[in-house]
Amino acid sequence: MNKIGKPNLEVFSETLLKEARKNKNIIVVTSDSRGSGKLVPFGKELPNQIIEVGIAEQNLVGVSSGLAAGGKIVFGVSPASFLTARALEQIKNDVAYSDLNVSLIGISAGISYGQLGSTHHSIHDFATLRAINNMTIVAPADNFEAAEVIKQAISYNHPLYIRYGKKPMMDIHPPSTKFKIGKSIVVKKGEDLTIVATGETLQRAYLASEILKKSNIHCSIISMHTIKPFDKETFIEFSQNSKAILTVEEHSIFGGLGECCASLIAQNNINVKLKILGIPDEYMINGSQADVLDHYDMSPEKIAEISKDLLNK
C-alpha cells in the first residue's frame, strides 16, 4: 500500500521556501492568500520576497507581470477559481501574450474547497487556459510532482499555471522518477486498458488499477500532469496499443484532459474506445472533494467498474 503524503499545497510552499532562500530573485505575490497558500512561514522568513496586494486578483496578475518584466522570478499565488476566471484577461495579455516569467499558482484547485460551493471551485481552468496561446498548464498529482514542478518553474522562463489541491496525497512515484514539464509519467504498464489521469485524480486511477488487477485486468496508468503542452507522443502510443482509454480529471468534461485525448484519437485515426470522467454540465452537487468526486463516478471502485464495462468484462 502506498503511503499517504502531505497536501501538495504544503509541498509547494516548502519547496518554494527552500528555493527562495537560495535565490533572492524569487518573489511571491499573494492576494490575501498567504494562509490558504501555506505561505505564512515564507512570509515570516523572507518578508522582502513576498508582495501582498490584498483581495485583488487582477492586480495580483498585473503586478506579477511587472515584477517579471523587471527581472524577477515571480510566483503569483491565489485561489485557482478567482485567479483563472476573474483575472483571465490579465493572464491572457499581461502574462501569456507578453511572455513573462510568471508562475501562476492556483491554490485549492478543482473542487478542493468542497462545501464552499461552485463560486470557489475551478473546474474551468484547464479549458480556459488551454485556449490561451503560450500558456503551460500543470496539475501535479503527488508530493513528488508537486515539488519537482516548482524546481523546474524557477528556470522555465515562460508563463506557467500550476494548480494545487489541499488534501494529503498518496505517494505514487518513487523519488528516482524523471519529471519534466510537458512529459507525462507512465506509472505502470498493462495490456488491457490505459487510464489517463491528471492532478489529484491520479491516486484514484491508481487505486482502481489495483482493484482491476484482482480481476486479472491489467491497466496502464499515465500521469498526465501537464495538460498543455500535451504529451501527444506518449498518449498516441498508448492509445494505439490499448483496448480502451479512460480519462479521469477533477475538471469539467468540457475542454480538459478528456477532450484533449478525444481530439488526438480522432485526428490520428486511432480505433480505440474512450470514456471521459469529470464533472458533468449541471448544477453541481455539494460535498467534500472526496464525496463529490465519488458522486461523479470517480471513486476507485466506480473507475474500476467503468473500466470493466469499457472492456466488456
Partner: protein, 275 residues
C-alpha cells in the same frame, strides 16, 4: 532638448501620426494627437530610455496603458531611433508587428497593452521591482481618462500607495472624450484628483498639450517622498488640427485625402512660424 525644438518636434510628430494613419487606413487619430506632447517631452527630455540602454533594465520604464494611442508611441520611438521609418510604414500591413496596439515585438515597447485597465498594475510591479533592487529609476504610465472606469486601475492604486511608490508617475490623458461621447456623460469620473488623493497619491494638474507646462511638471515629480504621483494632463482630443479637435467621431476616424492634406498644410503653417 530645448523647448523650441520640442515644440517643433510635436508638430512633426503630428504630421507623422496623420501620415501613418492615412497611409495604413486605420488608427486612433484623436487620442494619439491628444497624448503626443506628453510622449514627446517624456522621451526627449525626461526619461532615461534609449535604443542603447533599452535591453538593460537599469533605466526608466514606460507603460502605455491606453494602448490604442499607439500611433503616437510608434512615432516617437521611431524618431528616437528604435527603428526606421521604413519599418514604421509597415503599420497595419499583413505580418507587420506594427499593429493597432503596442506589442513587445516592436523595439522600445515595454509591455503588450490594448485592453484597458492593465498597464497600471504592471507599472506598479515594475516600480516595486525597482524598490527591491534599490534602483533610482522611475516608472511612467500613461492612462486614458475613459480608462479610469476600469476597476483594476484602482486596485493598482491601492498597491502603489501601500508600497510608497514615489518612483511611479502616472499621467492621465484628460481629453474629456471617449468613444461614445464625453467621459462625464458616459460614466462620470470626476473628481479625478480627489479620487487619486484619497488613494494616497500626490496629484498635479497641467496642460498636457503645452510643452513648457509639461517640462515644468516633470521637473517636479515625484511631488513627495514615499508617495506615488499622478499628473492630470488636461489635453484636447485631436489636438493640433482644428477640424479634428474635440470631435467625438475622430476617435478612430481615418482622414480622407482632402482632410489629410488640409491637416498637413495646417501643421506646416505652424511649423513655418518657427523658421
Amino acid at each position: 532638448m530645448n523647448e523650441k525644438n520640442l515644440k517643433k518636434k510635436s508638430l512633426e510628430y503630428r504630421k507623422t501620426i496623420l501620415e501613418i494613419i492615412f497611409q495604413s487606413g486605420a488608427g486612433h487619430t484623436g487620442g494619439s494627437l491628444s497624448c503626443i506632447d506628453i510622449l514627446n517631452v517624456l522621451y526627449n527630455s525626461v526619461m532615461d530610455i534609449s535604443p542603447k540602454n533599452f535591453p538593460n533594465l537599469d533605466r526608466d520604464h514606460f507603460i502605455q496603458s491606453k494602448g490604442h494611442s499607439v500611433e503616437a508611441l510608434f512615432t516617437v520611438l521611431c524618431d528616437c531611433g528604435f527603428y526606421s521609418k521604413k519599418d514604421l510604414n509597415t503599420l497595419n500591413q499583413f505580418n507587420s508587428h506594427f499593429i493597432g496596439h503596442p506589442t513587445k515585438k516592436v523595439p522600445g515597447i515595454e509591455h503588450n497593452t490594448g485592453a484597458l485597465g492593465h498597464g497600471l498594475s504592471v507599472a506598479v510591479g515594475l516600480a516595486i521591482c525597482k524598490k527591491i533592487d534599490q534602483k533610482n529609476n522611475k516608472v511612467f504610465s500613461l492612462l486614458g481618462d475613459g480608462e479610469l472606469s476600469e476597476g483594476s486601475v484602482w486596485e493598482a492604486c491601492t498597491t502603489a500607495s501601500k508600497y510608497n511608490l514615489d518612483n511611479l508617475i502616472i499621467i492621465v490623458d484628460r481629453n474629456d472624450l471617449q468613444i461614445t461621447g464625453k467621459t462625464e456623460d458616459v460614466n462620470p469620473i470626476e473628481p479625478i484628483d480627489k479620487k487619486f488623493k484619497s488613494f494616497g497619491f500626490e496629484t498635479i494638474s497641467t496642460n498636457g498639450n503645452n510643452i513648457s507646462d509639461l517640462l515644468y511638471v516633470f521637473q517636479h515629480v515625484p511631488v513627495k517622498e514615499n508617495k506615488p504621483t499622478v499628473i492630470i494632463a488636461k489635453t484636447t482630443k485631436g489636438s493640433g488640427v482644428s477640424f479634428i479637435e474635440n470631435q467625438i467621431n475622430w476617435h478612430h476616424k481615418v482622414p480622407s485625402k482632402d482632410e489629410y492634406e488640409s491637416a498637413i498644410s495646417e501643421l506646416n503653417e505652424k511649423l513655418n512660424s518657427y523658421e
